[in-house]
Symmetry: C3
Subunit: 257 residues, 3 copies
């Protein structure tokens, strides 16, 4: 995994002074800084994260890239985003998919987290010479909607919460399920994948059941879902992954029966 | 909403290199960067967030500014804070109220989050020529205290937790309810408003019941509380807003009966 | 507590322009900025946080430093990390212990949070002239393992979750409990201390019971655990501390009986 070595280095660039940041051989210097602070962590990053986790079967490197980007955006870890967005493009994630991931996470992780991702991703897009016609369209033709399923979802939410926040209930229908989720530049399965990744990464277990089921309805396999959780243990910390396990277990068991 | 256009731009400034950041026409360049990464997000920001959400009835733009600032501080999203602090002042939030919001959130969102807000807000205060006598006083005369209600609260918490952390129980009385909450530069209703906004924005649902009741006891209407949640869906992400709904529903129903 | 005065100042340095950041008398200027935004917060920081909390009996300043660093890393508050890492070294925390805290939190708070800590801590290490032989070793001889207890833990987790994420279950055994937890440069009691601090600071209450028990099995006293929570009320916000109280109460009561 040659591409991953600079990630460690790049992650540290922005925490140093701007004088250092402009020097040419930054990546080498910052890899050196990691060695001068936590050499064991550098070793674990190479041996375990890059050589092992990223090469596990069960989830492609393309999917791992999407999951990692979603986790970094949702957690506000913009320092690492430049390098992982770069890796994503080299792993086959389309620029339009990254663009659409940012837009999607504005709704699911908050506007500020999406806005903070624009700078780092913009640098990567500029480096790769990404043009406007490679981005997610502003108002593309929508994917078909399962009217019946959506009507049921809307009715269920309205019954629960119209007496509390009718505005939010309406926005959920109009902005999310009749618009955002139908945008074609990120497939429904991938849209669910990044949603689940964002929820797990930020410890928002309550919504995992709905979105994991939705992801699996759209084609995410049980093995892939399992690998998403294991992958995120490294990027979101063990406790977030462990808290996702009982929820995933419940979803898997219900779907198996 | 002319003032809001530069917010998008400004939000991205600090993620670029410092060379770029010093160039004069930054805002235009960074709006351009948003367009070059996620043009749909720019469109949604204009059409939905600024033109729609910020102009909804039920919650004033002044209150929306306070809620947004509280969310940004609590979530550590300092990149956007400069522009929203600017908007807050133009929407009628007094500098002393912003100053006091930072002090309040040191206790409710952690010292580091408050400290990180000082730089961005300081820039806005400098731009507006805010003087020391416009800030929240260090030791102002306290608002009157409802001794009986406070004694009951203190007794309840002491009974629950004196056997676990008597130090924290005492600090809660001395530093929070007999001092911070009585500071006059932020009205009790507004103090509760930012507390509820911070709790919802960080997914800390356990304390929402107490503080939402307190907010409504101090004058926050049900409609306003409902709008706070809908507003925060955009700034803290849908999952945090959805997790707040059942809690708010419980509070509303109990108060209606 | 002379050393703590610059912390306030330093915390704000990186939010200003890089031009300012290079000026010699930064700390004075930024203390001035805090005064120009929230003078009450400066007063509270001096009177309550530094003069009171940090000098409470029941938890040494060395332990408070470790707890604070863990909280800052876990919460991604790198702005304050430089100054608190500096304070930690002056309070008797060994560089190898800080190094190992970063490595440990890669697993417990996510890789990105650990990587973001490398820059600030690297600056402090450079200032103190810390050499490679003072850092945590890459592959040191392991501490002895309680094979029976570990076998029971592994069996319990495998029974629960092998059907969901066998990869994660295996990593938990191989990477955490048969490797990370046996690394000698951070004593088991301290390793548990930073784990508990990270969990409380990020509101991850579900894992507190296991890790608080483990901490107390390794020598953390009830009084120290209590002080950790009170200390973290200031650094992680009151709601996170309050949410930890019922969990700690349960642990204390069970262990007393």
């Amino acid at each position: 995994m040659k591409r991953l070595a600079p990630i460690i280095a790049g992650a540290i660039i922005m925490t140093t002074t701007s004088t250092e940041a402009r020097q040419p051989n930054n990546e080498g210097r910052h890899l050196e800084q990691l060695r001068s602070v936590a050499p064991a962590l550098e070793q674990y990053t190479q041996d375990r994260l890059y050589s092992d986790v990223w090469n596990r079967p069960g989830l492609s490197r393309r999917d791992r890239s999407l999951v990692t980007i979603a986790a970094l955006i949702a957690r506000g870890e913009t320092l690492e985003l430049t390098q992982y967005a770069d890796l994503a493009i080299e792993s086959g994630v389309k620029p339009a998919e990254i663009s659409e991931t940012i837009t999607h996470l504005a709704y699911y992780s908050g506007w500020g987290k999406a806005m903070a991702a624009v700078g780092p991703v913009g640098q990567v897009f500029a480096k790769h010479g990404i043009k406007a016609d490679q981005l997610a369209a502003i108002r593309p033709a929508s994917l078909p909607l399962d009217e019946q399923a959506e009507a049921q979802r809307a009715a269920r939410v309205a019954e629960q919460f119209n007496s509390v926040a009718p505005g939010l209930v309406q926005y959920t229908t109009d902005y999310l399920f009749r618009d955002l989720w139908l945008r074609p530049d990120l497939k429904p399965r991938d849209r669910s994948l990044i949603t689940v990744a964002a929820l797990i990464s930020t410890g928002q277990v309550e919504q995992i059941t709905y979105h994991l089921n939705r992801a699996m309805d759209s084609g995410l396999t049980e093995e892939q879902a399992s690998e998403v959780i294991s992958h995120l243990a490294f990027y979101a910390g063990w406790p977030n992954a462990m808290s996702a396990l009982p929820v995933a277990k419940g979803v898997f068991e219900q779907r198996r029966s």
